[in-house]
Symmetry: C2
Subunit: 436 residues, 2 copies
């Protein structure tokens, strides 16, 4: 090795060293970037502490301050929120919206917006608005526990689409205003969540766009207007659903053909209650008359009470309460106190350990998921005459307190008696293990 | 260069190449990891599409299914949710909770839980529950738009702490049940959000633990029981606040000393309305008597209507509406339709372009942030006799519709008249640019 040869070798090696080092750095960064791009096309990460003089950066994962100026579907003058106008290419429009609002994509597959509502004027029934208020609180509690958004409508979006038809314009407008939501969950004002832990098995509905509580045989074998209940449903935020709403509403008061539909429905569904066309019978009619179009996409859920007629449910509250307390006496995990925000962990634990997907309909010993006070008409007070008005209101309060016990648990208090709303009792540590 | 010398150099160089390459890779990965650790100690990233047979992984950023089995503060038998018991070391307890629930850390600095409520029994005023229902919807709308959680209380957590004292046990229990929340925002049932875009400037309160609307001179120069309003406040979820609540409640009905506080408060605040000790006067009393303890930590906010007395506000609705429409006629950005979830972007734009931190109190031409119908008593109907009951209810409805216009905008509809709740009118594209 000559002197010059050695020196030249050293310089060459040094330059190469630097290049190789950088190559290594570059390669690993590329690998990391590729990994994240592959497994999370819109991976978000959050910064903590970077401040620019004002508020810290919003860090919920969702970027609520970003709305790019590039035109999207909202900028199309032809897009209308009205029930009178159709929507086209809604799937593509939502898809584009997610591309320009990527922070909303993660978790979007099961994102739910709950929608409910009631009339715009005070209830005729003196206790009506009080019950509506409590029923709304009940829904807000369920939504908060499970991370759902909720919207309450108390104004008609179309003057003709009133009464039970009022939900269609609201659901449609909500779909447009919430492209980030995959499901709109309509829940009647008189439906009460009585199992705060239960979550609808959305994976079961992957191929469907509408989920209602109902039974196919009561459509196809022995048609009845009670074959399903249109007071509680999950509707997927997609073009198929927009088309369904268009067809559905064409049997409603906004349609020029409205009047013909009452007789048509009554001719098929002999037990139909209202003479004029109603949204529930109209939906069953579509399934009946156009089975090939609708049956594949509408899930008739009968395995749990997506909505359960209150008559079969309220007598069971005491037994069910005792059964669930027994589970808690048996397993200290269920007695463990926790933040409300991690309640789902304990609901999942109970399901896994004690319930294992147990049937949740009539005769079940599960908590009814949703107890629906159909026939009670809390607002008008014009309840089905076959029951006592007071029975309706008293049972609604028991159902509300039954549900509230599951909520107030994480606030350290319960109702000692389902008929007694206030005051609450403080819970001892490790309840219900210690007698009290 | 001899043969063997050259060969040995090549092998050595090759091994060195590999080592240098790996060194470069390792260094860059270390830098990336350090960067994220430094700026986001618990950075979260979300996966899309990884399924394990059932539901996709919850991807909101918050992991609601994780509650580690290692004991935390909830597992301490001495922790009580009751207003009668003190909490200690709450800051440390929350800190530990975040360590075991890291997904909740990002964004926690400004996370808000709104808390409101009303009595457990139906209102005496026939329109009372209807107004409460609408006021609750109003709060749910505001919370949804800004990503806040909300909890409604309609049961006393302590039988003695009723009426205006009922909020303290609820706020405390909420603090314990929601360690992820930095602020609890108590809002009276008769307070209505009339600026859906406005966000309290939380950075202003970095050094404070309680924020109320009020003026120091009305405490220290000319003591009045109206120096601040305890019907709307932000309270930080921390030990200082727990201590404040302990002291505050010691002047309330749960305290053995309760009866002495009425006379003490009246001796200082000559215009005090109720003979017995009330929560508002009690708070002012603490500021008055123990200024050095409380004044540094309680922010008396007078620059905007954290709550604004309705009398000075409701006459301005028409003018304010027109002013804001004028902004929208002027700037097409404000006319642009968008998903509800990105409304904050447009509120920030309006603030920046037209309002620039403009004063928001009496005489202001801003929308009042919160319009508080103090003196109206919508539930009992026992309003301040100096005004007409009907005026109260009519103005509450106007305020509710004024607010609802800001909400329904993104659903494509508005109230044509503030006194008319239903039906709504559909909005034309590019409203309010086209005359309609």
């Amino acid at each position: 090795m000559g002197k010059y040869g050695g020196a030249k070798t050293r310089t060459t090696v040094c330059l190469s060293d630097g290049a190789i080092f950088l190559a290594g750095a570059f390669m690993s960064l590329t690998l990391v970037w590729s990994y994240f791009s592959l497994f999370s096309p819109s991976f978000t990460f959050t910064f903590n502490g970077l401040r620019h003089g004002g508020e810290p950066v919003q860090c919920s994962g969702l970027n609520m301050q970003l709305d790019p100026s590039e035109p999207g579907f909202y900028d199309d003058p032809d897009l209308s929120y009205s029930i009178e106008k159709s929507i086209t290419n809604w799937d593509e429009k939502r898809h584009e919206w997610f591309k320009s609002h990527p922070s909303f994509k993660p978790g979007s597959e099961n994102r739910i917006l709950m929608v409910t509502g009631s009339q715009s004027s005070p209830c005729k029934n003196p206790i009506g608005d009080h019950l509506l208020l409590r029923c709304f609180k009940n829904k807000v509690d369920y939504a908060r526990i499970h991370g759902h958004e909720i919207f309450y409508s108390n104004a008609l979006l179309h003057p003709k689409m009133n009464s039970y038809w009022a939900k269609l314009p609201v659901v449609k407008a909500a779909m447009l205003a919430h492209p980030e939501a995959e499901w709109i969950w309509w829940v009647d004002s008189d439906a009460i969540f009585t199992d705060m832990e239960f979550k609808p098995p959305l994976h079961r509905y992957r191929q469907h766009n509408l989920v209602v509580h109902g039974w196919p045989n009561i459509i196809y074998d022995k048609p009845s207007w009670t074959a399903l209940n249109a007071g509680v449903f999950l509707i997927r935020n997609c073009q198929w659903s927009m088309d369904l709403i268009d067809t559905w509403k064409s049997m409603g008061p906004v349609s020029p053909d409205y009047k013909k539909w009452g007789p048509i429905q009554r001719s098929i569904f002999k037990d139909k209650l209202f003479p004029e066309s109603d949204d529930q019978t109209a939906l069953i009619y579509l399934l009946y008359k156009h089975k090939e179009l609708y049956y594949p996409k509408i899930y008739l859920e009968g395995e749990y009470y997506l909505q359960g007629y209150w008559i079969g449910v309220v007598d069971g509250f005491a037994n069910v309460t005792e059964r669930y307390l027994e589970m808690e006496r048996e397993d200290d995990t269920l007695r463990r106190r926790h933040a409300e925000k991690v309640s789902e962990r304990y609901g999942a634990f109970r399901e896994e350990r004690f319930l294992k997907g147990e049937f949740g309909g009539r005769g079940s010993r599960r908590r009814a998921f949703v107890t629906h006070f159909t026939g009670c008409q809390p607002c008008s007070g014009d309840h089905n005459p076959s029951y006592d008005g007071d029975t309706c209101w008293n049972e609604m309060i028991r159902a509300l307190n039954f549900a509230d016990n599951q909520v107030m648990r994480v606030y350290g208090h319960v109702h000692s008696d389902l008929s007694k709303t206030s005051p609450l009792q403080p819970l001892p540590f490790d309840y219900p293990n210690e007698a009290w």
